[in-house]
């Protein structure tokens, strides 16, 4: 047996031999015929709503769970490594948390007296009480991004009473809103997505505007009355117009103003987000109110 085989220079790529000897088999596997058949069949069904919509829902749910299955081992490994790291620094962490706990206790004491005072003053002035918004925490499954669209797939859906267009936030600020809600998973439209529009207001100049996503990491402010009034570094918060986002939620800061284009840097570090909170507001008149706000402009 020869130890070394002589290297044979490969020739040009040849068509692979036909693995289907019979004519029927050949036709069945003929590329063009299959292509045309699939195109006609699917193209027809695409415009048949009773078929297309349920298929879209089933695929959305199925793909999210399939992706969860793929990513689970990596998430678990990452969690394990994080736990190991925390275990090493357990003593330091304990000390830090103890200090934080003491500080929070002091803050709660101070806030309690303020809350009482606030309630008493509200009663005296006959101001209606502020509605407490309920929220639901959900884990981020993945964050698909293809340069145009940017989403979070989250583990929560209709079973958690989530509905379309509810706002999604984290500790740092606004993340976006629910764009599609399945039975167990939901899709969050991030504020940087090209389809995202959020009514906002600037903190110092008090200019109302719409924060418009453009696919990049810096969304822009549109429908601004006076661009000259806005300064770099100014905080952007939700205006409350539109009925989806409650007023006063932090969104970002003005990063740059170039040729009248105001770029905003969001507070939320989208790549690091693992958990989000969905505010359980019922955005019934969302589109109607946004239109009214735009008309006023």
């Amino acid at each position: 047996m020869a130890l070394f085989k002589r290297y044979k220079k490969p020739g040009p790529l040849k068509p692979t031999p036909n693995p289907y000897p019979s004519r029927f088999q050949f036709w069945r596997h003929s590329l063009l015929a299959s292509f045309i058949l699939i195109l006609i069949g699917v193209g027809t069904l695409r415009f048949y709503k009773p078929f297309y919509d349920p298929l879209q829902d089933v695929l959305f749910e199925g793909v999210a769970w399939l992706q969860k299955g793929f990513l689970q081992p990596f998430h678990e490994t990452s969690a394990l490594l994080k736990d190991a790291h925390q275990f090493i620094y357990l003593k330091d962490e304990h000390g830090r948390l103890k200090l934080e706990n003491e500080n929070l206790h002091k803050e709660i004491q101070a806030l309690r007296s303020l809350a009482h005072e606030n309630a008493a003053l509200r009663k005296m002035l006959n101001v209606p009480s502020v509605e407490v918004v309920k929220y639901s925490a959900a884990r981020v499954l993945s964050s698909p991004y293809d340069g145009f669209h940017r989403f979070f797939l989250i583990e929560g859906g209709q079973k958690d009473d989530l509905i379309k267009d509810q706002p999604v936030i984290v500790e740092e600020g606004v993340v976006g809103r629910l764009e599609k809600v399945g039975a167990h998973v939901a899709r969050v439209l991030l504020l940087t997505d090209v389809n995202s529009r959020i009514p906002v207001v600037t903190s110092f100049s008090n200019e109302k505007a719409i924060l418009s996503g453009n696919g990049s990491s810096l969304p822009t402010l549109v429908y601004v009355n006076d661009v000259k009034k806005i300064q770099i570094g100014e905080q952007i918060i939700t205006s409350g117009l539109g009925g989806v986002f409650p007023p006063g939620l932090p969104v970002g800061i003005v990063d740059a103003i170039e040729n009248g284009k105001i770029k905003v840097r969001p507070y939320v570090p989208f790549q690091k987000v693992e958990w989000v909170q969905v505010l359980k507001i019922h955005p019934e008149n969302f589109y109607k109110e946004v239109n009214t706000a735009l008309e006023e402009k």
């Binding site: 790529l13 068509p15 292509f35 793909v63 793929f70 293809d146």
Partner: protein
């Protein structure tokens, strides 16, 4: 045994599935890797073993991708199937020992794919429809021009 061997032929589709599921969130310096990353296994298998990449499988992978990226269902399926359809005709120009040539081929393939993909996704259908209309009208206009050309040729 035959079943195991046959199931091994699903490897190309599995590589596609793996990349769709794992790579949809990957970024380098804030720029997404998708959809160019998806095209690497498609191109590889179309060049080296197209019969392992059935149209039905590509259609399904396209559906999964569209569903994940919230596109209109069938858009990526159409582009992937079209690539599979045109793949064999381009294949004969490539040589397996010339890696730079195959690499260059990928550049052309992915560039063309992303150009059309970008046009459709960004909503600039006007340009896309204009391109299709141009292709449809070409024979008619070319026929008229060839007649004019023939008539002029007699005198010039």
């Amino acid at each position: 045994m035959k079943f195991i061997i046959n199931s091994l032929k699903l490897l190309p589709l599995f590589t596609l599935l793996f990349i769709i599921m794992m790579g949809s969130s990957w970024q380098i310096g804030g720029s997404p890797l998708m959809p160019a990353l998806l095209l690497i296994p498609v191109y590889y298998w179309l060049v080296y073993h197209p019969s392992w990449l059935p149209l039905g499988g590509l259609f399904l992978m396209g559906l999964l991708y569209d569903s994940l990226m919230a596109h209109d269902l069938g858009l990526t399926s159409f582009f992937l199937m079209l690539s599979a359809l045109l793949g064999p005709s381009i294949r004969s120009y490539l040589r397996p020992d010339k890696f730079p040539l195959i690499w260059f081929g990928f550049g052309v393939f992915s560039g063309t794919y992303l150009l059309f993909y970008g046009l459709v996704i960004s909503g600039d259908f006007v340009l896309f429809v204009s391109w299709i209309n141009g292709i449809i009208l070409y024979p008619l206009v070319a026929w008229i021009l060839s007649h004019l050309h023939g008539r002029i040729q007699k005198y010039v």
